[in-house]
C-alpha cells in the first residue's frame, strides 16, 4: 500500500467543502417546506445540475469504466440507459408529477388514488429501494478510501455517512441542492481533465505507452507490457487463452515458474503473489471477456440481445422509480420548469458519460492486471499512476479519487434526504424534528448494513435497484398520470407482484453466486419479464375493479395536466406543513381558488 498524499488532500478538501456548503446553506432552512422540497423555488438550471450531480453515483463514476474494462462494448448500454431514463421521465412523468403538488412519492399515490393502504405499501418500497441503492454508495466509499490510505473499509463508509447525515439534518433539501449542483460540475471537471491528459499521453506515446489504438483489435487477450507482479487478495480461479508462463508464490516458500495451459482453470489462494514475464497474456477471472476481439465487439448471440433489451428496459423505466430522483422534481416551481429541467439534465449527462467510456478503454490497455483480482471498479483510480510516473500521475489519481468521493457524497445525501422526507411525512408526524430523527435513523441503519454485509458487485446491486424501480413505481406513475381508469387495487397488485418478482431474482442471484453460478441471464437482468407483468397486472386488476375508480379522478387529472398559467396546481398539505405566511403567499397569485 502506497499512500498518495495528493489523494488524501483532495479527498479531505471535497469532504470539507461539502461540509461547509451544507452548513452554510442550512441556515436558511426553517420549515418543513424547506426541508422537503427546498420551498419549491429551485431554478431549472441549478436544479438540472443538482439532479445530474445526484444521479452520477459511484456506479457511473467508477463502475462504467470498470464495466467497459471487463465487458467491452456491451457495457456501453449502461450510460445509454442511465441517460435515456430521464428522457422517459420527461416524456411521461415530469410535468404532471410536479403539478400534482405532492411532497413525496407516496403522497402522489394518495393524491391520485386516495388510498392509505397504497400509500403505506409504496412508503416501504421507497425505503427499500433507497437502502438498496444507498448500500453500494457507502461500501464504495469505504473501498475507495482503502485505495488511497491504509484504513479498513468501514472508515470511509462512516465518514461519508457522518457528513451527509449532518448536512441533511441541518437543512434537508435546502442544504443539499447547492451542494449537488456544485458536485456535478466538480465531478465533470474531475473526470474530464484526467481524460484529456491521459488521451494526450496515449496519443503522443508518452511514458511507457505500448502499441497503438489498433492493438485492441487483435483477437488475443491483452498482454503485460513489462514484468508484472500481482498480489491476489481473495481466492480466485483464473483462466488463460494461450499457454502462459507464470511464477506463483503462495507464501509457503514453494515458489517456482510454471506454465498455465489454455482452457484449464487455475485456483489461486488469497495472499499469493503472481509474477508474469513481459509479453505474457493477461489471465482473467471467470465470466470476464478474455479475448480482446470479444471485448471490442458487441455480442451477437440471442442471449446477448435479450439481455441487452432487459437491461435497457430496466434502466429506461427504472430512473423514474428512484425516490431521490423524483424528490428533486418536487423542488421545481411548476410543471413547465420541471420539463425544462429534464432537458438540461439530458445534456449534462450526455456530456459526462463520454469520459468514463474513454477511461475504460485506456484501462484495458494499461491496467489489465485488474482483471485478475476482479477489482475492475478501481480502474479509474489506478489508471493515471499506471500511465504516468511521478507526481503528475499521482495528482491525476488524486483528482479522480476526489471526484469519486463527490459522487458518493452527492448520491448518498440525495437518498438519505428523500428517504427521510418519506419517513417523516408518512410514518411520523411530519415536523422538522421528525425529519431530523428520520435522517439519523436512515443513515444509521444504512451504515450498519454497509459495514456488516459483504461487499457485492457494485454495479449489480445498482442494476437491481433500477429493475426494482421499473417494476414497482414506473407502472404506477405512467398509468397514474395518463390513465383515468386506474384503481388503487390494481396499482397495489401490480406494484407488489413486480417488486416481489425482482426480489425473488435478487435472492436467486445471491444463491446462485454461492453455488456455482447456474442462474440464467434472466435472473441477473429480470426486467424483461417483471416490467410487462407489473404493467399487465395493474391494467387487468384495474379493469376488473372498475367500480373503485376514485370519484375525483376528473379533478385530479385537471390538476395534473392543466397548463401552469391557469393556476390549478395546488401544493398538497400546505396547511399541514407550511407556515402561516407560506400559506397566505401561496393562496395569493397563482393559487387562486
Amino acid at each position: 500500500m502506497q499512500v498518495n498524499p495528493w489523494a488524501l488532500v483532495s479527498v479531505a478538501l471535497v469532504v470539507v467543502v461539502t461540509f461547509y456548503l451544507g452548513h452554510r446553506t442550512s441556515r436558511f432552512a426553517r420549515s418543513t417546506h424547506d426541508f422537503l422540497v427546498a420551498r419549491r423555488t429551485v431554478r431549472s438550471r441549478r436544479n438540472a445540475a443538482a439532479i445530474a450531480g445526484e444521479y452520477i453515483s459511484a456506479a457511473s463514476f467508477l463502475g462504467i469504466a470498470g464495466l467497459v474494462l471487463k465487458e467491452g462494448a456491451d457495457a456501453l448500454w449502461f450510460p445509454i440507459g442511465f441517460t435515456g431514463g430521464f428522457l422517459a421521465l420527461m416524456l411521461f412523468v415530469a410535468g404532471p408529477l410536479r403539478r400534482s403538488g405532492a411532497y413525496t412519492l407516496p403522497d402522489f399515490m394518495e393524491a391520485r388514488l386516495s388510498s392509505p393502504a397504497l400509500r403505506t405499501a409504496s412508503t416501504w418500497f421507497v425505503v427499500f429501494i433507497g437502502v438498496l441503492y444507498l448500500l453500494p454508495q457507502l461500501q464504495g466509499a469505504g473501498l475507495s478510501l482503502t485505495m488511497i490510505m491504509p484504513t479498513p473499509a468501514w472508515v470511509g463508509s462512516i465518514l461519508v455517512t457522518v457528513v451527509i447525515a449532518y448536512n441533511v439534518m441541518g437543512g434537508g433539501m435546502r442544504a443539499i441542492t447547492l451542494l449537488q449542483a456544485f458536485q456535478y460540475w466538480f465531478k465533470l471537471f474531475a473526470i474530464a481533465a484526467p481524460t484529456f491528459v491521459l488521451c494526450a499521453v496515449f496519443v503522443t506515446g508518452g511514458a511507457g505507452a505500448p502499441g497503438s489504438a489498433g492493438s485492441l483489435g487483435e483477437p488475443a487477450p491483452p498482454e503485460f507490457t513489462a514484468r508484472t507482479t500481482v498480489t491476489v487478495d481473495t481466492d480466485v480461479t483464473l483462466g488463460v487463452d494461450t499457454a502462459t508462463r507464470v511464477r506463483v508464490d503462495d507464501g509457503s516458500g514453494g515458489a517456482g515458474w510454471t506454465t498455465w495451459r489454455s482452457g484449464a482453470e487455475h485456483a489461486v489462494d488469497a495472499g499469493s503473489t503472481l509474477t508474469f514475464p513481459e509479453g505474457a497474456a493477461v489471465p482473467t477471472v471467470d465470466r470476464a471477456t478474455a479475448a480482446n476481439l470479444d471485448w471490442l465487439l458487441p455480442s451477437t448471440d440471442l442471449t446477448g440481445l435479450l439481455s441487452t433489451y432487459s437491461l435497457l428496459l430496466a434502466l429506461l423505466l427504472g430512473t423514474m422509480g428512484l425516490p431521490h430522483v423524483l424528490s428533486r422534481f418536487y423542488t421545481n416551481p411548476d410543471g413547465k420548469a420541471a420539463r425544462r429541467t429534464t432537458v438540461q439534465v439530458l445534456l449534462l449527462l450526455g456530456l459526462f458519460y463520454l469520459f468514463p467510456v474513454i477511461l475504460g478503454m485506456l484501462s484495458r490497455m494499461f491496467v489489465p492486471e485488474l482483471l485478475i483480482t476482479g477489482e475492475t471498479d478501481a480502474a479509474v483510480i489506478a489508471l493515471p499512476t499506471a500511465m504516468l510516473t511521478g507526481v503528475a500521475g499521482q495528482m491525476l489519481a488524486a483528482l479522480l479519487a476526489a471526484g469519486a468521493f463527490a459522487a458518493f457524497l452527492s448520491t448518498a445525501s440525495g437518498l438519505v434526504s428523500s428517504m427521510s422526507g418519506v419517513i417523516a411525512t408518512d410514518l411520523l408526524a411530519g415536523k422538522v424534528r421528525d425529519y431530523r430523527v428520520a435522517s439519523v435513523g436512515v443513515a444509521g441503519i444504512a451504515v450498519l448494513l454497509a459495514v456488516t454485509l459483504p461487499i457485492d458487485d457494485l454495479a449489480l446491486s445498482v442494476g437491481m435497484s433500477f429493475a426494482l424501480g421499473a417494476s414497482t413505481f414506473a407502472p404506477l406513475l405512467v398509468l397514474g398520470v395518463w390513465w383515468r381508469r386506474l384503481t388503487w387495487l390494481g396499482a397495489l397488485v401490480g406494484m407488489c407482484t413486480g417488486g416481489g418478482l425482482v426480489l425473488l431474482a435478487v435472492v436467486l442471484n445471491a444463491v446462485s453466486a454461492h453455488t456455482g453460478g447456474w442462474a440464467p441471464w434472466l435472473v441477473e437482468r429480470p426486467a424483461l419479464v417483471t416490467v410487462p407483468v407489473a404493467f399487465g397486472l395493474t391494467v387487468l386488476v384495474s379493469i376488473a375493479t372498475a367500480s373503485r375508480v376514485p370519484e375525483d379522478v376528473g379533478a385530479v387529472m385537471l390538476r395534473l395536466h392543466a397548463p401552469d398559467p391557469l393556476g390549478f396546481m395546488r401544493d398538497r398539505a400546505v396547511q399541514r406543513f407550511g407556515r402561516a405566511e407560506e400559506h397566505t403567499r401561496t393562496s395569493q397569485g397563482r393559487h387562486r381558488k
Partner: protein, 206 residues
C-alpha cells in the same frame, strides 16, 4: 401525429385541440375592468371661508378614472351635488383591491374547467390525449432506434466489424451517437408540449 388509429380530427380541432364553446367568448354583459376608487366616507366638514369661493367644476365620482389622482392644485375639488355643502379639496387615492383578472371570460372558462362540466372535461381530455400522443410517438422513435442497434448486430454480425476512421462503428454508435439523439428529442418534445399548453391557455383566456 398521422397515426391512422387516432380519431380523425374534425375541421374544428387543429392539432387535436377542440375549438372553444361558442358561448364561451361572449359574456352576458360587457364588463370593463374598472379601478375601484375609495370615497371618503366620513362626513366632510363644511367650509365657509371666502378664500375658497373660487368656482369649481364638478366631476361625478362614479366616472373617476386614473387621471383623477393627477389633478393639480389649480383644479379645485369638485362639488358633487349642488345641494351638498361645499367640500374641501381631498386628494383622491386609488386603491386597487385585487389584481384585475385578465378578463371575465377567462374566469368563466376556468370555472367551467374546475366544475367539471361536460365541456370542461372534454377540453382537458383532449389536451391529455394530444400530449400523450406526442410523448408516445417521440418515445417510440428513440426506442426503435436504440433497440434496432443490438438487433442489427445480431442479424448482421459483419456490421460490428466496420470501422470509421479507425474506430469500430459499434463504439461510435453506442458511446457517442445516442446522447445527441436523446437530447434532441427532449428539446423537441419540450417545444411541442409548451406550444400545446400555450394554445390551450390562449383558447381558455379569450
Amino acid at each position: 401525429m398521422g397515426d391512422p388509429t387516432d380519431p380523425p380530427d374534425p375541421e374544428g380541432r387543429p392539432g387535436g385541440i377542440r375549438e372553444p364553446d361558442p358561448t364561451l367568448g361572449k359574456p352576458a354583459k360587457p364588463l370593463t375592468p374598472e379601478p375601484f376608487v375609495q370615497q371618503p366616507r366620513e362626513p366632510r366638514p363644511p367650509r365657509s371661508g371666502p378664500s375658497h369661493a373660487a368656482p369649481s367644476h364638478a366631476a361625478p365620482s362614479h366616472s373617476v378614472t386614473s387621471h383623477s389622482t393627477s389633478r393639480t392644485s389649480d383644479q379645485r375639488s369638485p362639488e358633487p351635488r349642488a345641494s351638498e355643502p361645499r367640500q374641501p379639496r381631498i386628494r383622491r387615492q386609488r386603491v386597487v383591491l385585487a389584481e384585475p383578472s385578465r378578463s371575465s371570460t377567462s374566469l368563466r372558462a376556468r370555472v367551467e374547467l374546475e366544475q367539471q362540466t361536460s365541456w370542461g372535461e372534454l377540453l382537458i381530455k383532449d389536451l391529455v390525449k394530444v400530449q400523450l400522443r406526442t410523448a408516445v410517438l417521440l418515445g417510440l422513435l428513440v426506442l426503435v432506434v436504440l433497440c434496432a442497434l443490438p438487433a442489427v448486430f445480431y442479424a448482421v454480425p459483419a456490421a460490428v466489424e466496420l470501422r470509421l476512421a479507425g474506430i469500430p462503428l459499434p463504439w461510435l454508435l453506442l458511446a457517442v451517437a445516442p446522447f445527441p439523439l436523446m437530447f434532441g428529442v427532449g428539446l423537441w418534445y419540450n417545444r411541442l408540449a409548451e406550444r400545446r399548453e400555450r394554445d390551450f391557455v390562449n383558447m381558455i383566456e379569450n
